[in-house]
C-alpha cells in the first residue's frame, strides 16, 4: 500500500526528470523529505513491484526499430510454459500477455515484437512458431501511432 508521501513521489517521478548529479536530491526537495527517505521509499516501492524502474522511455521508431508488430496466437495450455521461456530470452519481444478468446477472435496470447525491419520480425515469429509447433498466429503491424504516452499519474492519483 502507498501513503500520501508515496503518492507525491510517484507524481514527481512521472514527469520528465531533470538529469543531473543530484537527481534524487532535487526530487526529495520537491516532495519535502530527506534524500535518504526518498531512496528508501523508492526502493520499497520497487521491491513491491509498484515502481518498475527509473529509466528513459525510448522513442524506438526514431532509434531504428521501425518494424513493430503485435503478434497474436491461438495456443494450447501445454504451450504456455514454452512460449514464456522463449519470449523471456528474446530481447526483441517486449510484452507477452494472455487474454480471453472472443467469438470472432480465437487468439489468447499476445506478443509485442520489435525489429529494425519487417524481415527481423517475421524471422522471430517463424522461429517461435517452429519451436512451439504452432502456426495459428496473426501478425498485426503498427501502421500509425495515434497516441503513445505514459499513464497520467495525476489522473489516477489525484484525491478521490
Amino acid at each position: 500500500m502507498i501513503d500520501m508521501i508515496d503518492r507525491r513521489i510517484l507524481l514527481e517521478i512521472s514527469d520528465d526528470l531533470n538529469i543531473h548529479e543530484d537527481i534524487f536530491g532535487e526530487i526529495s526537495g520537491r516532495v519535502g523529505i530527506s534524500k535518504d527517505e526518498l531512496l528508501n521509499r523508492l526502493t520499497r516501492m520497487q521491491n513491491e513491484g509498484i515502481l518498475k524502474r527509473i529509466s528513459p522511455v525510448i522513442k524506438h521508431y526514431n532509434a531504428g526499430y521501425v518494424a513493430n508488430a503485435m503478434v497474436v496466437w491461438d495456443i494450447e495450455d501445454n504451450e504456455r510454459q514454452m512460449i514464456e521461456k522463449l519470449a523471456k530470452s528474446n530481447e526483441n519481444i517486449s510484452h507477452v500477455y494472455e487474454r480471453e478468446r472472443r467469438e470472432n477472435w480465437p487468439y489468447n496470447l499476445y506478443t509485442m515484437i520489435h525489429g529494425q525491419n519487417a524481415e527481423e520480425v517475421t524471422h522471430i515469429v517463424d522461429e517461435l512458431s517452429r519451436k512451439i509447433g504452432n502456426k495459428a498466429y496473426r501478425i498485426l503491424y503498427t501502421k500509425k501511432q495515434w497516441k503513445k504516452t505514459s499513464p497520467d499519474m495525476k489522473y489516477y492519483l489525484s484525491a478521490e
Binding site: 538529469i19 527509473i54 522511455v57 512460449i83 501502421k143 505514459s150 499513464p151
Partner: protein, 149 residues
C-alpha cells in the same frame, strides 16, 4: 547514434540505481565519468531518441483496471474515431494496425465500473459496432528493452 550513446542507452534502460549518485555508478560500469553519462543522456534527449526519463510505474499494482480494445473502423472514418479515442486520459496507446480489426487502444481506469462506463461511452460517441474488450488474464513478460549494437 555514437558508440557511447549506444552503450549508455543499453545500460540506463535497465533503470538507474536508487542511490545518491546514480550516474556515477552507471559511469563506473561503463568506464566513463559521471559528467560524460549526463552529457550523453542530454545528447540522446536532444536527438529525440528519448520520450521521457522518469519512473515506470505498474499502475495495476495501484488498483487500476486496464484492458486492450480492438475496433473494426471504416477506413474513411478512422481519423474521426481515432481522434475521439485519443482524447481520453485513460488511453495511453492508440494504434492503427493492418488488420480487419484496425484500431487498437489500451484503456486504464480507477475501477472496473469506470472502465466499462468509458467503453460504453466510446461505443456511443464513435458509433463503431464491432468492438472487443480484451483484458489481460495473465502477464508472462513486460519488459521493454531495445539493444543498440
Amino acid at each position: 547514434m555514437t558508440t557511447l550513446e549506444r552503450q549508455v542507452l543499453n545500460e540506463i534502460q535497465k533503470g538507474i540505481p536508487l542511490v545518491e549518485q546514480p550516474f556515477l555508478v552507471i559511469g563506473e560500469r561503463l568506464g566513463i565519468s559521471e559528467a560524460e553519462v549526463i552529457d550523453t543522456i542530454d545528447s540522446l534527449k536532444s536527438k529525440d531518441y528519448i520520450r521521457r526519463f522518469g519512473g515506470i510505474v505498474d499502475v495495476n499494482k495501484l488498483g487500476i483496471k486496464s484492458t486492450l480494445v480492438a475496433m473494426k473502423v471504416d477506413e474513411n472514418d478512422l481519423d474521426r474515431v481515432a481522434s475521439i479515442i485519443s482524447e481520453y486520459k485513460g488511453v495511453t496507446h492508440n494504434y492503427e494496425r493492418d488488420d480487419a480489426y484496425n484500431l487498437w487502444f489500451t484503456l486504464m481506469e480507477r475501477s472496473q465500473e469506470e472502465l466499462e462506463e468509458k467503453i460504453g461511452e466510446i461505443k456511443r460517441k464513435t458509433e463503431v459496432e464491432e468492438i472487443l474488450s480484451l483484458p489481460a488474464t495473465y502477464k508472462h513478460k513486460t519488459n521493454v528493452f531495445f539493444r543498440f549494437k
